[in-house]
């Protein structure tokens, strides 16, 4: 008898995610699906709002990466007020970049210490009661404290540049609304131990060493778990450097051949399509040139290091060279290497923060520019989890008439489904019962991508972890709730 296994990891006010795994009569995995109820209502919610409100409003989409939405929307609004990204004042661009690198630093650090380090320190088969950040805090206290302080440092950089922890207002159409203060600059550069940038750089290097140590001892798992060939897409700077704030769109295939040739993202709609499938609320983006079947791609840390030619900061570049050498210069298609790529990006973000803090433009200079108004603009940015598209049109009353957002998790929809399939086939084929280890294997595959499940609402009573097991007649035969 065939079975359908359902894992419902999250239920939120506006949506939830679950995994269904279909087994045939011989208990072979025949189909897996990751269902995420994407929150599309936001695009309608902002219709009719004045365009200048949007960079603040969109931060409500996500409690972890509001800055990414803030900056993507601000970049789109720059275009609407007639300022193309290259025309932004040096002070405005550098202050926005500082905010964005602060965001990357805190978000990536959170992911590594909260989700990845327990697996790396205790092993993925360790008892789930131990394998979490509380366990890390008990047995590796210094490391846990470092993780919290790195997250806090990034948050403070954001607060200093965006103005507030919630609903920051730093980026406005055509620029930013304030400089960094000298006091903040000095605090981040040489502030009270350990909340200064030199500590952050040292700890970032140590985190890479931690990964390398685990990798050395667990090569088979890290290299083969949920690995699959794919295309990769991201922004790159015009000269091919890693750039998370601005650049051109590039995609490479699994062999490294360019399949999207450094195009202007204002024309993204000519290159990217969005497929709707009847079993998921979340769309499946694809490269039009390759079609729906073959045009899917990965975004995020792994994709960025696969598309860029180099990293423009010395310490991260050194690590990048080791990373690239591991696959002999070819794209790295190993899902668990996403952690490695993320750590290299943490180091890069820390180096960039230090460089920007030393730049006089962040303390003085022109903040806002205005040009000839347009009715349409696209803002694109690399969010921590991957490429983020914001596209708006305004009407004659300066109100939003159309909005289209493609968030990082949507871009990774197909890859996450592939990762789940790979993990499920490896651990569940031929099994009668779902064990904690099997469920964890599936979760580990998804966690590498850290999907955002419409997280910005969070009321008590709406977040159970549910696992349901169905047979082929859709009868519930097992149920677990966290």
């Amino acid at each position: 008898m065939g079975q359908k296994i359902t894992i419902e990891p999250v239920t939120r006010v506006e949506g939830h995610g679950k995994v269904t795994i279909h087994l045939d009569e011989r208990k072979n995995v025949v189909q897996t699906r990751l269902h995420i109820v994407e929150f599309r209502g936001f695009e309608r919610f902002i219709q009719g709002r004045p365009y200048w409100e949007i960079p603040v409003l969109v931060q409500r989409l996500c409690g972890i990466c509001p800055v990414s939405h803030h900056l993507a929307a601000a970049k789109a609004m720059d275009v609407i007020v007639g300022i193309m990204p290259e025309d932004l004042s040096p002070s405005a661009e550098k202050i926005r970049r500082l905010m964005h690198y602060g965001q990357f630093f805190q978000s990536h650090s959170l992911h590594f210490f909260h989700l990845a380090s327990p697996d790396l320190l205790f092993g993925v088969s360790a008892d789930v009661a131990k394998r979490n950040i509380i366990g890390v805090a008990r047995e590796f206290k210094e490391l846990a404290v470092q993780g919290v302080m790195m997250r806090k440092f990034g948050q403070e950089v954001i607060e200093a540049t965006a103005g507030k922890k919630i609903h920051g207002t730093g980026a406005i159409p055509g620029g930013v609304n304030k400089h960094l203060t000298l006091e903040d600059k000095m605090k981040f550069l040489i502030g009270k131990d350990p909340l200064n940038i030199d500590y952050m750089i040292e700890w970032s290097k140590a985190a890479i060493d931690l990964f390398r140590g685990y990798h050395k001892d667990n090569k088979d798992f890290i290299d083969n778990f949920a690995a699959f060939p794919s295309s990769h897409l991201s922004l790159v700077r015009k000269d091919g450097a890693l750039d998370i704030y601005h650049g051109v769109l590039r995609a490479v295939d699994a062999e490294g051949n360019k399949i999207l040739h450094d195009v202007d993202y204002q024309d993204y709609i000519d290159y990217i399509g969005e497929e709707v499938r009847n079993w998921s609320y979340m769309k499946f983006p694809y490269l039009r040139s390759l079609g729906k079947q073959n045009g899917w791609y990965r975004v995020g840390p792994l994709a960025r290091l696969n598309t860029c030619d180099f990293i423009p900061t010395p310490l991260a570049q050194k690590e990048f060279e080791v990373f690239k050498a591991y696959t002999k210069g070819k794209p790295n298609n190993m899902s668990m290497h996403m952690h490695w790529a993320r750590l290299i990006e943490i180091l890069h973000a820390a180096e960039m923060i230090k460089e920007l803090l030393s730049d006089p433009d962040i303390l003085e200079g022109e903040l806002v520019k205005k040009g000839e108004k347009r009715i349409e603009g696209v803002g694109l940015i690399e969010a921590p989890r991957g490429t983020l598209f914001h596209h708006y049109k305004i009407d004659g009353n300066d109100q939003i008439e159309m909005a289209n957002l493609i968030v990082s998790t949507t871009n990774n929809n197909e890859p996450m489904n592939r990762a789940v399939e790979s993990a499920a086939k490896k651990t569940m084929t031929g099994q009668d019962k779902i064990t904690e280890g099997m469920l964890n294997a599936v979760e580990v595959a998804i966690r590498a991508y850290d999907p955002c499940l419409s997280c910005a609402t969070h009321a008590i009573g709406k977040m159970p972890l549910e696992i349901s097991l169905y047979n082929s007649r859709n009868e519930l035969i097992d149920f677990l709730k966290s």
Partner: protein, 162 residues
């Protein structure tokens, strides 16, 4: 006025999702009251959600009162003592008040007395502002808090509430 114990009132939620913003709104009212009455020893904070750095943020307080919107079947609001919780999240986007307390205990060896104020919400749609029922909840919770914080009875009162 000065609180006998160092207290933090911390609200979380998304003000862009109707009643989900009850926690931050309550904190805004409490902060205004603190300023107006020159209350010492009581701090406020707010965010979209709790996360691991809040273990650091609460470590130096005697009492922490978290406030969050709730979908539970309760009348207006309830306050309960938070116990350390080990449940880990599926992704990085939020942690529970108990998780924050547990992390604080383990990382810093500090054990503040932590409470969670559950504020009954009804409408979590995409909008700003509260439903009528949630609005009354907000006012009732505000009156409750200003009557107990910064009074010598605070520790006793809160300890007795389940």
């Amino acid at each position: 006025m000065e609180s006998p114990v160092k207290t933090l009132v911390y609200g979380y939620g998304n003000p862009g999702r109707g009643d989900d913003g009850l926690g931050p709104a309550l904190v805004e009212k409490i902060q205004a009251w603190i300023v107006e009455n020159n209350v010492l020893g009581v701090d406020t904070d707010s965010n979209y959600q709790l996360n691991i750095e809040d273990a650091y943020n609460i470590k130096d307080y005697d009492i922490v009162i978290f406030a969050d919107a709730s979908c539970e079947d309760i009348e207006h609001f309830i306050i309960e003592r938070v116990k350390p919780d080990e449940k880990t999240a599926f992704n990085t986007h939020s942690v529970s008040a108990g998780f924050v307390l547990n992390l604080c205990n383990n990382m810093y060896g500090k054990k503040p007395l932590v409470f969670l104020l559950h504020l009954r919400g009804y409408d979590f749609g995409l909008k700003e502002g509260f439903s009528d029922l949630a609005d009354s909840t907000l006012n009732m919770a505000y009156n409750y808090l200003v009557n107990i914080i910064a009074t010598p009875r605070l520790s006793k009162l809160l300890e007795s509430v389940k």
